[in-house]
């Protein structure tokens, strides 16, 4: 068999194998799905997110709870066989608090403590480029447009998800696929019920969820993240209960 004929055979075999593998992969979650089909409840509860997305969680203040909400969503978004990477440049990340949100305290979670902003950017890029499905949660220091483009490219190449917590209101566009603004709301239930409420507004997004807003409730007792009212639509759903893990 000459070289050209051999190459053709290999090409045909590749195509057939790709078809077989595609059939197997069809049932897997997450999938490469169009952004237009994403639902706000899916986004906020970390379910079936399109691969390679960066989601920016902007809080109305340091104590807004945006980090908590993002972490609860990130924990729910860890795919089977995937990892959750916590980027913690300040060293203040508190694992017991994360565990009470459903973050598994096992080999699936890795905490990175980069020493400065340059190292933090490098860490984000390296982890997002990984071929294993990885959810990355953490602070992102102020950066320039080039850094954001590189980060986005890394996420698209690796196929993981970035749950970004911008340290300051960014001077340049973050290039995130979705930018969310999180405002805390007073809880409606009195003690002893531990329930936290937020209003989440989609500042910008690819797809149909742009401009939408919703009220979200996190119950610390049963640990589900619930979308109680979608302000632009009437649909509401109870989603993503995760058992507490030790």
């Amino acid at each position: 068999m000459d070289r050209v004929a051999k190459r053709d055979v290999i090409h045909q075999l590749r195509e057939r194998t790709r078809q077989v593998e595609s059939a197997f992969r069809a049932g897997e979650s997450p999938v490469d799905r169009p952004a237009e089909h994403l639902d706000l409840s899916e986004l906020l509860t970390g379910r079936r997110l399109p691969r390679g997305w960066l989601i920016e969680w902007q809080g109305s203040g340091e104590e807004s709870g945006a980090e908590t909400l993002a972490l609860a969503a990130a924990a729910a978004a860890i795919p089977q066989g995937g990892r959750l990477v916590i980027v913690d440049p300040t060293g203040e990340f508190y694992p017991p608090g994360a565990a009470s949100l459903g973050v598994p305290m096992d080999e699936r979670v890795v905490v990175l403590r980069p020493g400065d902003s340059q190292a933090t950017w490098w860490v984000w890029e390296q982890v997002l480029r990984c071929e294993l499905p990885i959810v990355v949660w953490g602070h992102v220091p102020p950066g320039n447009e080039r850094q954001w483009v590189r980060l986005r490219w890394a996420a698209q190449r690796g196929g993981g998800w970035g749950f970004l917590l911008p340290t300051f209101p960014p001077a340049v566009s973050t290039k995130a696929d979705v930018r969310l603004l999180v405002r805390p709301l007073p809880s409606r239930r009195s003690p002893p019920c531990w329930e936290r409420r937020w209003q989440v507004e989609v500042l910008s997004a690819r797809g149909s969820i742009h401009g939408k807003a919703a009220d979200v409730v996190l119950s610390h007792e049963t640990n589900p993240l619930r979308l109680v009212a979608e302000l632009a639509h009437s649909t509401a759903g109870v989603v993503s209960p995760r058992g507490k893990t030790g």
Binding site: L13, R14, R18, E21, G59, E62, E63, S64, G65, A66, E67, T68, L71, G81, R83, T90, G91, E92, F93, Y94, P95, P96, G97, A98, A99, S100, L101, M105, D106, E107, V109, V110, V111, L112, R113, P114, A119, W122, V123, Q126, R129, C130, E131, L132, P133, I134, P184, L185, P186, S187, S190, P191, P192, W194, R196, R197, W198, H220, K244, G246
Partner: protein, 491 residues
């Protein structure tokens, strides 16, 4: 014993223990300083502890560490003999050296043994050396407790005579065989030798006759000599020393290429190597570079080594550089796949990413975390290096009920001004970051009194508070002082 006690000063008060029957622990070895208190190996640990002052340190016995240390000593002894073996017992404590014709360089057997003794003494070990015609006889004579000599030389052909008065225990027999011999009141080797040989195997098993014949020299004893590891390394020396990082990086890449090329034909991958930099003042700086799996990827090794090198703060010029392979293993044979993106490839890539992260940030910045059953918030978790293979075993604590905790814990609690309606009551207002926060709801107090054994008595009443704006904080009041602190933010 060798690894923990061998090279330690005689004044060290340290003992080793191991699990024994009925969930008890027995003393395995002690230093001479501990022996002074009347402690002997074999004693129950609880009994030994009652005899000793509390400053005596007790550590678990590590047989694997011992064997490894003995193996290292065997490698060192290769300068005296081409064949150095560990004794064949399950827990070896001796080295067997075949010194046939090795005394030529030392003008006699005694100078040879004196040189061996000095070698060990220099490393902090006191030894008893016995030189006889057979390994079994040498072992027996070196272990007999009555000996006061540190060097015993038995003239050729006289070893049988030397063995006769020794107890049968020194034939390297199993405890069961020794107990059986004692039942028949056979306690010394000469008594054993007087018994009819033909009857011994049927009554006491094959082991007895084999060990006896080995000691007497009737049958040969095969010694498995320890093989001295041959370091795979590559070096470069600069004259004069250099400070140009680019030059160093280039040479480093060249050295790595040499190492990879030397291992490639054997399909052996490098798993860990040491990089040793000799500075202009002869000061040495070194760092390890390790992978989770052996690899011969030159690109990956260069990248990792340079990441480590970047973290070094070198104030002097570099005079020499040496790369030494300290751990290698056969390369993993894996089936070639047509497409990337599957789980196995992802896992491999993830390991590569972790290695890169450790290279740039250091092991202390790439961690796995686990919860600990400690009520004090600062001690409620621990972290391990991702390369720590025992970490998974440590993550055994499962917590079925997790209290609500903030995801950010301040490194040190910050004192805040708080208003309560009643003394000792919950907060109704507090100031933080120059803002006044009105408390809408509060949960608490959760009293935590602990930590006295750490030298810091913690007595706190924690409150989880929600402000009128819907923000959550974690405050505590120190009992007795009535001061308020902010410890965590549900950020």
């Amino acid at each position: 014993m060798l690894s923990r006690l061998g090279a330690k000063p005689a004044s060290l008060e340290l003992g080793l223990f191991a699990p024994a029957e009925r969930q008890q622990f027995r003393v395995v070895a002690v230093t001479p300083a501990v022996k002074r208190y009347g402690v002997e190996p074999g004693m129950l640990l609880a009994e030994a502890q009652s005899l000793c002052p509390s400053r005596v340190r007790w550590e678990p016995y590590d047989p694997a560490g011992d064997r490894e240390q003995l193996r290292r000593l065997a490698h060192g002894c290769s300068e005296f003999s081409p064949g150095v073996a560990l004794d064949s017992s399950p827990l070896p404590d001796s080295l067997l050296l075949d010194v046939t014709d090795c005394d030529i360089n030392y003008s006699g057997e005694l100078p040879l043994l004196q040189a061996v003794q000095r070698w060990f003494l220099h490393r902090g070990y006191r030894t008893v050396l016995a030189l006889t015609d057979t390994a079994g006889a040498a072992w027996a004579l070196a272990h007999q407790p009555q000996t006061t000599e540190s060097i015993l030389i038995v003239p050729p052909g006289r070893h049988v005579e030397a063995l006769r008065p020794l107890p049968v225990e020194f034939l390297r027999l199993s405890p069961e065989t020794v107990a059986l011999l004692h039942q028949f009141d056979v306690r010394r080797i000469d008594q054993l030798m007087a018994l009819p040989r033909a009857d011994l195997p049927s009554r006491f098993g094959e082991e007895l006759l084999r060990r006896l014949d080995q000691a007497l020299g009737n049958i040969p004893e095969l010694l498995t000599a320890e093989r001295v590891p041959k370091w795979i390394e590559a070096s470069w020396t600069w004259e004069p020393p250099v400070d140009d990082r680019l030059v160093v990086q280039t040479i480093l890449s060249h050295l790595l290429e040499r190492i990879v090329r030397s291992l490639a034909p054997r399909q052996i991958g490098v798993q860990q190597l040491w990089c040793l930099l000799t500075l202009e003042s002869a000061e040495a700086r070194h760092f390890p570079v390790a992978l989770s799996q052996p690899s011969l990827s030159l690109k990956h090794w260069i990248e990792l080594t340079l990441l480590h090198l970047e973290r070094l703060n070198l104030s002097e010029r570099i005079a020499a550089i040496t790369l030494r392979v300290v751990r290698s293993a056969p390369l993993e044979v894996r089936q070639t796949r047509l497409f990337d993106g599957n789980q196995a490839n992802g896992e491999r890539h993830w390991r590569t990413v972790l290695e890169r992260l450790i290279g740039r940030l250091g092991e202390s910045a790439v961690r796995r975390v686990r919860l600990c059953p400690d009520p004090q918030p600062e001690w409620a978790f621990a972290d391990n290096s991702v390369t720590d293979e025992t970490a998974d075993r440590k993550a055994g604590d499962v917590f079925h009920h997790l209290p609500v905790r903030p995801i950010r814990l301040l490194r040190r609690p910050r004192e805040v001004e708080v208003v309560s309606v009643v003394p000792g009551g919950p907060p109704i207002r507090f100031w933080w970051e120059q803002r006044r926060h009105e408390v809408a709801h509060s949960w608490g107090p959760e009293r935590i009194e602990t930590g006295w054994w750490r030298g810091e008595d913690v007595r706190r009443d924690y409150y989880l508070v929600e402000t009128s704006q819907g923000e959550w904080f974690w405050l505590f009041r120190t009992l007795g002082e009535e001061r308020w602190w902010l410890h965590g933010i549900f950020s």
